[in-house]
């Protein structure tokens, strides 16, 4: 609860700051402090100190899993703001508003991590999405940004429409918006009901697949991620996406699982996963721009996160948290470096190791993490995902498919490493201040630390 209220309140404060404070660079510091307080508030919540006791009639349900995810999301955002705050300032005219919107997005994220009712799911998704539409289009004079915003908006609201239809139909079938359905309630429309519910769940599945850009509903992602200002792509592709997964997983774990006897959901998930992995990885291989490659790779990573849907056991829950953290941190790092580059193509990175060794080294760590090489957090993230599925004893073929695609992903991640280290060139960057380098080093250190001791993060789930 703390995180939801505080993020909304800070959002409003930030919004008011936009005209109360004149100095542009102060916004970044205010936002950082706000995020820090938010993080502390959320951790306090984890330890049972809830500042605001509001009866939500069971619409929200706070558990360790959600709270830990909040911490990850807020922490990642904090690092994101610390690392790329300067770029956010340069993204456009309305600096304070960007931070406001980021805080509002976090409000949506925190709602999604706690929702226990389709109403709160819907609200969370929307509170998260609407600010993003604006952020995507924040580069007002840039056609690509315009296009991205329009596409994102149209696709986003279309999927919202589908989601609402799904919710309406499931409501028609069950008579409740709550996630858990009491099945033994007397119902007049028995014959009609189960059909409505299944249809509704299918709609929900499709719309959530849209939101997390799982194939075959991924087509908007590359254009949007490519067109949006890079700083905001970084935010969209990481924290927001992870939150979408958290929501998706909860939905599947409760609502879909209840109707497992009627529909073989897992088979559908498996098909989606394979399609997502296939599309994301194969298309990423052919990209020339690192930003676009990252867009496709985010689809590919989505495929891995979707493994949770198949397994849905303790290990999967631990894994998705670790995956969110690993993926978010690494991607934030890569984008932090990317926005400093003058040329976003692979060739633009040529020889970065010579001109900016620290950037190259940390970027390598991030890329290794994304490819899932041991000693980085990404390895354990993938490890948990795979292990959780193997644990169920079924779908081993899916796991093998997964690892083969992981090997494919190495191809395009390593192209960046190759460009940085092995190719001749003179990669140009904008000015790099020392504090930025220290930030990157700290981020890389966190990733490596999590790669050796994943329990440092996961122990927050159990104490």
């Amino acid at each position: 609860m703390n995180a939801i209220i505080l993020s909304a309140a800070f959002g409003v404060v930030m919004m008011l700051c936009s005209f109360l404070i004149k100095n542009k660079s102060n916004f970044r510091h205010i936002a950082s402090v706000a995020l820090l307080i938010l993080l502390i508030g959320n951790i306090a919540d984890t330890y049972g100190y809830t500042f605001f006791a509001i009866d939500t009639h069971g619409m929200l349900q706070f558990n360790r899993f959600g709270l830990l995810f909040n911490s990850i999301a807020i922490g990642s955002t904090l690092l994101y703001v610390l690392l790329t705050g300067k770029e956010i300032e340069n993204a456009g005219m309305h600096v304070a508003e960007y931070f406001t919107l980021i805080l509002f997005v976090l409000c949506g994220v925190t709602l999604l991590s706690a929702y226990n009712n389709l109403l709160t799911l819907f609200l969370g998704i929307e509170i998260m999405s609407i600010p993003l539409y604006i952020l995507t289009g924040s580069d007002k004079r840039n056609m690509k940004s315009n296009e991205a915003a329009l596409k994102y908006f149209l696709m986003g609201s279309f999927s919202t429409g589908l989601m609402l239809m799904g919710i309406a139909l499931t409501y028609g079938g069950t008579g409740t918006f709550s996630l858990e359905v009491v099945r033994n309630a007397p119902n007049m429309y028995k014959g009609l009901v189960s059909f409505l519910e299944i249809l509704g769940l299918l709609f929900l599945l499709v719309s959530m697949a849209f939101k997390v850009s799982a194939a075959p509903f991924h087509f908007w992602t590359p254009d949007v991620y490519d067109g949006a200002p890079s700083v905001f792509t970084s935010f969209m592709a990481t924290i927001v996406k992870a939150a979408g997964f958290i929501a998706f997983i909860k939905l599947c774990a409760v609502r879909m699982a209840e109707t497992e006897s009627v529909v073989d959901w897992k088979m559908i998930y498996a098909i989606i996963i394979v399609a997502t992995l296939l599309v994301g990885n194969i298309t990423a291989v052919f990209q020339q721009s690192v930003k676009r490659m990252l867009a496709y790779s985010s689809i590919a990573q989505a495929g891995f996160m979707l493994f949770t849907l198949i397994s849905l056991n303790d290990m999967a829950y631990e894994g998705i948290l670790l995956y969110s953290a690993a993926y978010s941190l690494a991607t934030i790092g890569i984008f932090a470096v990317l926005v400093k580059m003058k040329d976003y193509t692979f060739d633009g990175y040529n020889g970065l190791a010579k001109t900016q060794p620290v950037l190259a080294a940390t970027n390598t760590v991030f890329l290794l993490s994304l490819s899932g090489i041991p000693l980085t957090a990404g390895f354990f993230a993938k490890y948990y995902m795979l292990a959780a599925v193997v644990k169920t004893g079924n779908y081993t073929w899916l796991v093998i498919t997964g690892v083969l695609f992981a090997a494919v992903s190495v191809y395009y991640y390593f192209r960046v490493i190759q460009a940085m280290y092995f190719k001749e060139g003179n990669a140009e960057t904008t000015t790099i201040v020392p504090s930025f380098k220290y930030g990157l080093i700290a981020l890389a250190a966190i990733i490596i630390l999590l790669g050796i001791f994943p329990t440092l993060l996961l122990r927050w789930l159990y104490f």
Binding site: L119, I130, K151, G161
Partner: protein, 111 residues
């Protein structure tokens, strides 16, 4: 009137909306189709609300079944309003840059 009529009407509106989104090229029309979808959902929710209320009313006079769906409709309206404002702003922004609201125009720009 039997509740099925409302549901069928809502379903039809929804399908029109979906078809519009998928086939039309004018951003504003696409957007209106999306709004149509949302309103179809509203109608459907209200219909279901009545349906469940009637079902519950038969056994329990004091039942509050169905209230939540009406509540939901309120939230959909609010969110739709927020979406409208953002969406229209985006479309206006695009119109100011390229003097067109044709979705395909953007794809043409890319090549």
């Amino acid at each position: 009137m039997p509740i099925q009529y409302y549901i069928i009407l809502a379903a039809c509106l929804f399908c029109i909306g979906v078809a519009g989104v998928l086939t039309r090229r004018n951003a504003i029309i696409v957007f209106m189709c999306i709004e149509l979808m949302l309103n179809a959902v509203n109608l459907m929710l209200v219909a279901f609300s009545k349906m469940h209320y009637a079902a519950a009313f038969a056994t329990d006079n004091a039942s509050t079944a169905g209230t939540d769906a009406q509540l939901f409709v309120f939230f959909i309206m609010v969110v739709a309003a927020a979406e409208v404002s953002v969406g229209l702003a985006i479309i206006v922004m695009m119109y100011r840059n390229i003097h067109s609201v044709d979705i395909n125009f953007l794809n043409r720009l890319k090549n």
